[in-house]
Symmetry: C2
Subunit: 105 residues, 2 copies
DNA sequence: TAAACAAATGAATAGATATTCATATAATAA
DNA sequence: TTATTATATGAATATCTATTCATTTGTTTA
């Protein structure tokens, strides 16, 4: 596929950049993942506690954490058998904040 | 479904708020819609010109514009037979900018 | 009025994805 | 080693969605 020379604020966006950006928003575009990110935004939580907080199964949370990990939005620290997850990206909170400004209008 | 009391930065998020926020990001999470928003972010374009710029069909663009319209992310002005679309939300550019900061790392 | 043009829409389809269930992996304790 | 606990993973499924194609709606002009 060719590059269509889409511009955003005086910058030419390559097709690949647009796809990467869409990928980021797609990941944020799921209630479960947003809840996970909110829950571990300012504190570490293990998988079980995230599942407990969201009232969802461990498996469902684990699947979503894998997606968030691949997108480098979360990281974890191991303590024995337990993995403690937390948000790894400084932009996430900012994006969510601005998003909330839009939706709360 | 009950409210799970998910917090984000000292604010309790209601389930409905999380769903609305996910809905916003879901809409931004598509390359075609991102390209449309970029193309009409600082200038008005008619449907045909958007389709031409993105090298896509008029129908595909029109379908996506409907979704963007419903989310109040774009608005249009009629001039004769032609509708000129532009971005209507001040937060869109901001969210895209921060998103690009993340993806370009 | 009819013709031409711009955009919207409905149905169909192919591809993507979130969750569930069962199981596997990994670390620790007995 | 075996049992237990915490997490990850693979397969299956149900749901969702982006595009295409055909058609319709709406506006202007001849």
């Amino acid at each position: 596929m060719e590059n269509n020379n889409i511009e955003f604020e005086d910058t030419v966006l390559l097709d690949e950049q647009v796809y990467d950006l869409a990928e980021l928003f797609k990941i944020l575009g799921d209630p479960t993942r947003l809840k996970i990110l909110s829950a571990i935004q300012s504190k570490e939580l293990c998988v079980y506690d995230i599942a407990d907080t969201l009232e969802m199964t461990q498996s469902a949370i684990s699947h979503q954490l894998r997606i968030l990990k691949q997108a480098r939005l979360v990281r974890y620290r191991r303590d024995g058998k337990t993995l403690f997850y937390t948000v790894s990206d400084e932009h996430v909170a900012e994006i969510i904040s601005i998003g909330l400004e839009h939706t709360s209008e």
